[in-house]
């Protein structure tokens, strides 16, 4: 895994500080920048775990047909046209006509197949060559196949049985609800204020009976007790499982004698069937392709739309798009090439070959590594950025979970991170830069860059922390991590990023935390966010020794 930076979203939690990075659960609170949204109203980052999602349209991912929401329900969220998936390999099926009547095994050169094809049509998988005629599904017309199949579905045994069950229970519920109304029993249900007989029925017949066990004692309590419960008409199934061909002895025999695993349909191919179905792979039916939805997302607190796609299924554009990448500086982290390390001469003991092998991922215990963070400013104004490492013991865990505190302490990270402590500028974003060559971008801030270079030359060995490079709207800063002697695990730390920018419309209620550096305070606003920087995992010390000893 290469080093990465993810951004924190606190998802409306009262505490905006991120969880300590060593906890596995912390990974759920951090997201790559490109997945995040930014709510301008709340001035806050929002992620996919907290935004509220609305459907702004349905479409079939296969034929890109937009399905009106009225028919979505009836068609069970599936494409009602010609889109099917192969039950065998999940490839898309195509509709093909039947072969023309056999002409000496199809080899006569004159056998020009007519363009239209002749019925019956069937579905055909180009990948595994499954076809629907194998399960006796053929069509007279090559269009509207789903509608033609619908009749199979409507008469599926599960829906018929389901309707029958409903009819079976309806009178019973009515009876019990009326009795419940007649004499409300002095039990858990008495407090029901409902007049709605249905709801009463619900609770009387089905609500779990909490103190319950008293309930079935033969106290005569209204009609229900003598009445319908056991005398409730015995339900007669349409299709009894005992009489059906599936699931019984036949299946056991079939299983006993299969030769290939593939003869038995996989669980995924069967589990959505509520009705006892055949185990045989050869009996699988084509699947209608599930629809997708276009989603718009809203801020969970202020309800403002964060992202809204265009209606058309073919379009991949958005009407509204407030993505965090347009507001927060993007940060890329990199560990310098091994060559740099060697040149620095800090790790004389380690053979360069070994270093090359472990690559950027191998961070050796007991060593010091420089790393670079390159920050890109997406704003049209220059910003001042200040980085700091989050203090490692969050106040929460010490004050509250008293028994957890020692654990937290023992988990104190076995490495120390240094970052440039002062604020540094990043130039504004300008479209022009996207079109210019790299060389032209150097020297934007000439004198500072020159100073930087001089400094590098002067004390190359210890100058790793600080601003290393500035060009266009990118500033590269260096940091350093010192890894403890017997450290293990991952080098992962939370970093607070604060940036100060010139606000177009300064709002009074916005808290201005940043210390204005160069310009006048009132125009400046500061936004802070947390990130987690993952530099990679530590190679335990023993292995390094093994490398060096022989």
């Amino acid at each position: 895994m290469s080093p990465s930076v993810d951004y924190h979203c606190h998802c409306l939690a009262s505490n905006s500080a991120p969880p300590p990075p060593h906890l596995p659960s912390s990974s759920y609170s951090f997201h790559p920048l490109h997945e995040l949204f930014f709510c301008e109203e709340c001035d806050a980052v929002r992620c996919n775990r907290c935004v509220s999602v609305e459907v702004s349209g349905y479409y079939c991912p296969n034929c890109l047909f937009e399905v009106p929401s009225a028919s979505v329900r009836a068609e069970k969220n599936r494409c009602a046209r010609n889109c099917f998936m192969c039950p065998n390999c999940r490839n898309t099926l195509s509709v093909v006509p039947s072969d023309p009547p056999d002409m000496d095994d199809g080899r006569s050169p004159s056998a020009a197949v007519s363009a239209v094809g002749e019925p019956p049509f069937f579905l055909y998988c180009n990948h595994c060559r499954w076809d629907s005629a194998e399960v006796d599904i053929t069509f007279e017309k090559p269009t509207g196949l789903a509608a033609q199949l619908q009749k199979y579905e409507d008469s599926a045994p599960d829906s018929l049985e389901f309707e029958r069950l409903k009819e079976h229970f309806e009178p019973f519920l009515r009876a019990s609800s009326s009795s419940a109304l007649a004499g409300p029993p002095p039990t858990a249900h008495s407090h029901h204020p409902h007049v709605n007989p249905i709801t009463a029925a619900a609770s009387s017949a089905l609500a779990r009976d909490i103190p319950g066990v008293g309930k079935y004692t033969p106290h005569p309590r209204g009609r229900r007790d003598k009445g319908p419960r056991d005398d409730m008409v015995e339900y007669r199934s349409r299709v009894e499982v005992g009489g059906s061909s599936t699931m019984g002895e036949a299946d056991v025999e079939f299983m006993r004698h299969i030769e290939e695993v593939s003869e038995v349909a996989a669980l995924e191919q069967r589990w959505a069937n509520s009705w006892a179905t055949s185990l045989h792979t050869s009996d699988l039916k084509p699947l209608r392709i599930p629809l997708h939805s276009k989603k718009s997302k809203r801020c969970p607190t202020c309800r403002h739309i964060l992202i809204k796609p265009e209606q058309k299924a073919q379009s991949v554009r958005y009407k509204i798009k407030l993505v965090a990448a347009n507001y927060l500086p993007s940060i890329k982290v990199a560990l310098p090439q091994p060559m740099d390390l060697v040149r620095r001469g800090a790790q004389a003991a380690r053979p360069p070959g070994g270093e090359g092998n472990s690559g950027a991922n191998g961070l050796h215990a007991g060593d010091t590594y420089p790393f670079t963070l390159s920050l890109t400013n997406p704003l049209y104004d220059p910003i001042q950025v200040r980085l700091s490492v989050q203090r490692q013991i969050p106040p929460a865990s010490t004050t509250v979970a008293s028994d957890a505190a020692p654990v937290e302490k023992s988990r104190r990270p076995p490495f120390a991170v240094s970052l440039p402590s002062s604020a540094f500028p990043i130039a504004a974003f300008a479209e022009a830069w996207e079109y210019e060559d790299d060389e032209d971008m150097f020297g934007v801030d000439d004198d500072e860059f020159g100073f930087e270079a001089r400094e590098k030359e002067g004390k190359a060995k210890n100058k790793t922390v600080g601003v290393l490079e500035k060009r266009a709207n990118v500033t590269v800063v260096g940091g350093e991590v010192v890894i403890g002697k017997d450290a293990k695990g991952e080098v992962k730390f939370n970093m607070l990023v604060s940036y100060t920018y010139r606000s177009d419309d300064p709002l009074p209620e916005d808290d201005v935390r940043g210390t204005p550096s160069r310009t006048k305070a009132p125009e400046m606003k500061t936004f802070s966010f947390y990130t987690v920087v993952n530099l990679g995992s530590i190679v335990p010390r023993q292995e390094t020794k093994m490398d060096t000893d022989p």
């Binding site: 500080a17 329900r73 609770s203 017949a205 909490i210 079935y216 299983m255 589990w271 989603k295």
Partner: protein
């Protein structure tokens, strides 16, 4: 009490005396909150727009979720969520909090996917029916509620018992429901739509145990053919000489899932006891001849334990043995032929002789060392493993781990006498593990066998051999008169009716699959505008708001505040405290105590 196999959950039932009549009513404050519906909710329901009448039915298992709209005969989507929770939680509080945070994050992702990806609907306008397993851990239930109400803002949640819903799906409101799922098999009697929770019985012999057992069997008795070492080699070694033991890495969860769901079935019961007696003297020379015949059953239950030990042992020894590639080894290395293993071998021999099931070849991803781009390895699954792997579920005799059949009978023993006949004649078997072909007929014969075995002829005394055998105790004697009445409603191969009475229910249930019955029942309840205790969001928000004041701030608080919220959520384990019970410390005690006992 000592002879009745008490599941770890017996603690739960201590909360209420065994005789239900004696249970006094208790304060129902919490419950009252729960059921009360707000007038607002009344009106929104009546005047709902098109389609919003349909509720969303979620059956959240620890591994597989089924989701869909009420009023439909099948779930819209079924998907694997991976084992989200297990029977154990970390004992260390900090660790547990962390586990909970991870679980909550995963649950949230899955629930959001249910609405946004599977059902493509907006949570704000949809009421939810949550199919609730009676032993769904309370902390999980609270998380589900918190996410649904908080993150997704659903208008209401109805909590409906999975066992009861399953009964609805076969058109009944009375019956004894056995749910053989992934973590546990749970038997719960339901009378006239009232679950008799105190009579609930459970055993950890279920899907995950079956998986572990299959893994152990395959490690011992399976064969693995690595892919050819090179494609260009003009001839490769014949399969026989390439075959090796099954490397641990090959048996990934996905492979085992394949084995379980596509290869395994349940054979007819073997008359183990007699067969072994005949066989052991003439059997393998390595057999211990002085093994008392009655110990056979013991060995069979050792089967899984030993194989579990072996499991861990293999893990440590694996690196050393991963070097082999073309070595042919005996399937069981000699250095580990412990007594248990000899017995295993004997069992294997016996099963092999009696199994006509075909051996299967399964393509598996080879271990990393063998990934030479030459295709997949082959795992050979012996036919008897396919047929007899599930024996572990029927192997009782352990005090803490009753067999699935014993679980049913134990539950039945708890039920008041006059209900036994009714319940015995309407047993319903649900849950994914019972989808194994042949499971239900086998369960029926196991029931018959467990009842029939009196201590004198018993093949499975519950005690260890080194202890003096207790005076003969005939556990199921009282149930014996009910034998002709036993009937499994959804038995696909019902025994021929014995004439007159009881068991003519057998096989009369509609042919819904056992795994989806609870969901179908939920859908049915939803379409009948009923189903479980409904908690509207207002209630939750109210309770939530009350909590707010004493909330100080940050992360760890998150956890404790969650602990405190949920008096709004109905929970059968909390309410029926007998009179005179010490006033429960509301947030902590009642909810952690009963459930923490589960695996601990």
């Amino acid at each position: 009490m000592s002879a009745i196999p008490a599941t770890p959950r017996t603690k739960t039932s201590h909360l209420s005396p065994t005789t239900p009549v004696a249970t006094p009513s208790t304060s129902r404050v919490a419950h009252a909150h729960a059921v009360q519906a707000s007038p607002h909710y009344q009106t929104t329901r009546r005047h709902s727009l098109y389609g919003t009448e349909d509720r969303i039915v979620i059956d959240p298992g620890s591994r597989i979720w089924k989701v869909g709209f009420s009023g439909e005969g099948r779930p819209r989507d079924v998907f694997l969520v991976g084992p989200l929770w297990g029977l154990r939680r970390a004992t260390d509080m900090a660790e547990r909090d962390e586990e909970d945070r991870v679980l909550e994050a995963r649950l949230q992702a899955h629930i959001r996917a249910v609405f946004h990806d599977s059902l493509l609907t907006e949570p704000k306008s949809r009421k939810v029916i949550l199919v609730e397993h009676p032993l769904l851990p309370v902390y999980v239930k609270e998380m589900l509620a918190k996410i649904l109400f908080g993150n997704l803002q659903v208008p209401s949640i109805s909590f409906a018992s999975s066992h009861l819903l399953a009964l609805l799906s076969v058109g009944r409101i009375t019956g004894l429901v056995l749910d053989c799922g992934h973590l546990e098999s749970t038997a719960l009697p339901i009378f006239s739509s009232r679950p008799l929770f105190p009579q609930l019985r459970t055993t950890p012999l279920a899907g995950s145990r079956l998986t572990a057992h299959l893994r152990a069997l395959l490690l011992l008795f399976g064969t693995y053919l690595p892919p050819p070492t090179s494609l260009s080699a003009p001839t490769n070694l014949p399969a026989a000489s390439r075959s090796t033991r099954v490397p641990q890495e090959v048996l990934t969860d996905a492979v085992l899932e394949q084995v379980k769901t596509r290869c395994t079935f349940v054979g007819d019961p073997l008359d183990t006891s007699s067969d072994m007696r005949v066989m052991s003297p003439s059997g393998d020379d390595s057999m211990e001849l002085d093994m008392p015949p009655s110990d056979v059953a013991q060995s069979e239950s050792d089967f899984s334990h030993i194989s579990v030990d072996l499991d861990s042992h293999m893990e440590s020894s694996q690196p050393a043995s991963s070097g082999f590639s073309v070595v042919s080894r005996s399937q069981v290395p000699p250095e580990r032929t412990t007594r248990g293993e000899t017995q295993l071998q004997a069992l294997a021999n016996m099963y092999t002789r009696h199994s006509t099931a075909t051996d299967l070849h399964l393509k598996v991803v080879p271990p990393v060392a063998q990934q030479t781009g030459t295709g997949k390895g082959t795992l050979i699954i012996p036919g008897w493993v396919r047929e007899r792997g599930a024996e572990v579920l029927f192997e009782g005799g352990d005090v803490d781990e009753a067999s699935v059949a014993e679980t049913i009978l134990d539950s039945l023993l708890k039920v008041p006498v006059d209900l036994r006949k009714t319940l015995a004649s309407s047993i319903l078997v649900i849950g994914g593990t019972s989808m194994l072909p042949g499971f239900i007929p086998r369960l029926h014969s196991e029931l018959m066998r467990a009842i029939a075995s009196s201590p004198s002829s018993s093949a499975r005394p519950p005690m260890r051999p080194d202890r003096p055998r207790p005076p003969a105790y005939d556990r199921y004697a009282v149930l014996r008169p009910l034998v002709p009445h036993f009937a499994i409603l959804n038995n696909p191969s019902p025994p021929l009716p014995t004439g007159a009475r009881g068991n003519n229910h057998a096989g009369k249930a509609p042919a819904f699959t056992p795994a989806t019955m609870a969901w179908v029942g939920g859908s049915l309840a939803g379409s009948l505008k009923t189903g479980g205790v409904e908690v509207p969001r207002e209630k939750w928000d109210e309770a939530d708001a009350q909590q707010d004041p004493d909330e100080n701030t940050p992360i760890a608080i998150d956890v404790s505040s969650r602990r405190a919220i949920p008096n709004v959520i109905p929970d059968w384990t909390r309410t029926p405290l007998p009179v005179g019970a010490p006033p429960a410390n509301p947030p902590h005690l009642p909810e952690t105590a009963p459930r923490a006992a589960v695996g601990a």
